[in-house]
């Protein structure tokens, strides 16, 4: 009889509803915890760095014929990239920028004259070594490199 009632039309949907209400309450809690989580993990800075990698490479490494409205320079000048353009080019050697890289996994895409690039790579490596921070340098063009910091276990 118990089994009969369990599979009946009214009891089973009621049980399912209870399961769903519990699920919704847990979801509410999970979203709340997500909002309170470490902000730097999903922060704007990281996003800008990654955007830089994606857009910097085509424009300066391989792709020189993108429409002007889609060039990196234009975007830096006209959009929210102005928040952290220094990460890309001009202020790379400033410690404040390097500190930002330490906030987590990051990519820097650089495009300067070869000798300046060498100097910046050296600076980047020295900084990472000093912080005992795993890192990697990829030279993808004579005037461009991708510099990656990989703090362990932050993902």
């Amino acid at each position: 009889m118990l089994q009969a009632r369990l599979i009946s039309r009214s009891l089973l949907p009621t049980a399912v509803l209870l399961v769903a209400v519990v699920g919704l309450l847990q979801s509410w809690k999970a979203f709340h915890e997500l909002e309170r989580g470490p902000k730097e993990l999903w922060g704007t800075e990281r996003f800008l760095l990654l955007r830089a990698a994606a857009h910097g490479i085509p424009e300066f490494g391989y792709d020189t014929d993108l429409p002007p409205t889609r060039t990196l320079g234009h975007r830096i000048a006209t959009t929210q990239w102005a928040v952290a353009p220094g990460v890309l080019v001009h202020d790379f050697d400033q410690p404040s920028i390097l500190r930002r890289l330490l906030a987590g996994f990051a990519i820097v895409c650089d495009y300067v004259e070869a000798e300046k690039l060498d100097a910046r790579i050296a600076l980047f490596e020295a900084w990472c070594d000093a912080q005992n921070l795993p890192h990697r340098v990829m030279r993808v063009a004579p005037t461009m490199a991708i510099l990656v910091t990989e703090p362990g276990g932050r993902r």
């Binding site: 039309r9 399961v19 769903a20 209400v21 519990v22 999970a30 085509p58 993108l66």
Partner: protein
């Protein structure tokens, strides 16, 4: 946002038209729900394929709203291929679930949508993988669509340039139409795939167990914390789960020798599985093997001949995926690092660590956070099990597939080159999420009376008589 909605609407219309021609007698509300289930695959998946295929062929995709028209090509191709069905399936008349249950469904799904929407408004960029993998790939595709391969091979391996392009392609296509990167386009892409997932579960459950069971299944799925969180974080795992559900239901219909509803569309969804994520390749191969095993056990080789429309539907996504992997994608990091396979497989401590990881997910108290009380569905299904239902080949296939998929994920961790203390906590729950809706479907097919509400009443009467 507008582009995503247009692509979805286009997919809905095309799916409806294809289903109408080749839908084995599905009419009315069921036909509309079928089309809703396939709409994200045809609309957004189709756009993604067109965008990447154009790039692979060295063609810059057309700008603006022309791209929306070109994105209809895969769906239009399927419409041309579809032939009117030879005979109509005997459809059970559509009986509405109890009104209070429908009201609860609307309330609970609405609450879930509100929670995801609220989180999306606060953080429209999504989570780590969305930012570091999918959006980076999407920007590469959009910024240099014909040279994306060169760039994908240059990005660090940790950004997984080898990951296939369903989500990046869909993002890139919607941004391309709108002329700018738009976080709202991303959130809508995920929301529409989420809607498709719910519709896919409804149609699969309704087909066997009726609308009340379908209503209950959708309520449970739509309130599972793990699903809602990953729809918000813009991960691809809910999309893999969605495509798997469509394909699993299609293969189950074939095995049961019921006329398959929309085999071309089911084939397209099956073909998109590898295009969504590398795990999709494993799931697609496993599903095919389980199906072939079922065919061999039933000794009905003529079933295989009826798979031709499915194969035709799967052709385009599989071809684009193959070209992408051959021409553009860098080598996969996991395959590249398979060095000490045998020693890892024979290391007992790895077995224990992986088993502990799985145990923690299913521990009702610790896994509670991710899965709510969804684990209660399994004992409920077992209580409702009846011997006749265990003979249904589709149900057996679904259950066997879920168990083998879990075994496959276990094997992935045994062979993983990464540190298990990092790898298991950061990914196991997402791999389980890919299989979770299929497991829910198998449990309901297993435990809920067949033939819908009439079947339930009949079984209840039988049980009463036995008592």
């Amino acid at each position: 946002m507008t582009a995503a909605l247009f692509l979805f609407a286009q997919g809905w219309i095309l799916s409806y038209l294809i289903g109408h021609r080749h839908g084995q007698g599905r009419r009315g509300l069921r036909a509309i729900l079928d089309a809703l289930a396939f709409a994200p695959a045809i609309g957004l998946g189709g756009a993604s394929l067109v965008f990447v295929a154009a790039g692979l062929a060295g063609i810059t995709p057309p700008s603006g709203w022309h791209l929306v028209a070109f994105s209809a090509l895969p769906g239009a191709g399927l419409l041309l291929l579809s032939r009117p069905a030879a005979g109509s399936a005997l459809e059970k008349p559509f009986s509405s679930p109890p009104r209070w249950l429908v009201a609860a469904l609307i309330l609970l799904v609405g609450a879930s949508a509100w929670m995801v929407g609220r989180a999306d408004a606060r953080n429209p960029r999504g989570g780590y993988d969305a930012i570091a993998i999918w959006q980076v790939s999407a920007r590469i595709l959009e910024g240099a669509p014909t040279r994306a391969g060169t760039i994908l091979r240059a990005i660090p391996p940790s950004h997984h340039g080898d990951y296939p392009g369903l989500l990046p392609g869909a993002f890139a296509a919607t941004w391309h139409v709108e002329g700018a990167d738009s976080p709202s386009a991303q959130t809508f892409v995920l929301a529409l795939f989420g809607l498709g997932l719910l519709a896919a579960l409804w149609r699969a459950v309704d087909r066997v167990s009726g609308p009340t069971a379908a209503c209950c299944a959708v309520i449970v799925l739509a309130s599972t914390p793990e699903l809602l969180i990953y729809l918000h974080l813009q991960y691809v795992d809910p999309i893999v789960a969605y495509l798997l559900l469509l394909a699993l239901d299609g293969f189950a219909q074939e095995l049961e020798e019921r006329p398959m509803t929309s085999p071309l569309l089911t084939g397209f969804a099956f073909g998109l599985m590898p295009w969504a994520k590398n795990e999709g390749v494993a799931l697609a191969v496993l599903l095919l093997l389980v199906f072939l095993g079922g065919v061999a056990m039933r000794r009905r080789s003529e079933i295989l001949r009826r798979l031709r429309p499915m194969a035709a539907g799967a052709f385009l996504p599989l071809a684009v995926h193959l070209l992408f992997k051959t021409l553009w994608a860098p080598p996969n990091d996991m395959l590249r690092n398979l060095h000490s396979t045998w020693s890892q497989l024979t290391d007992a401590s790895r077995w224990r660590r992986v088993a502990r990881g799985f145990g923690e997910e299913w521990n009702p108290l610790r896994g509670f956070k991710r899965w709510g009380a969804a684990w209660l569905i399994l004992p409920m299904a077992l209580l409702g099990t009846r011997r006749e239902r265990l003979k249904r080949s589709g149900t057996l296939m679904a259950a066997a597939f879920v168990l083998l998929a879990l075994a496959a994920w276990f094997g992935v961790y045994l062979l993983s080159y990464a540190d298990l203390d990092w790898h298991i906590p950061t990914s196991l729950h997402r791999l389980l999420l890919q299989v979770y809706p299929a497991a829910l479907l198998a449990a309901i097919w297993w435990g809920w009376p067949e033939n819908g509400d009439a079947g339930a009443a009949e079984e209840e009467k039988e049980w009463g008589a036995q008592d």
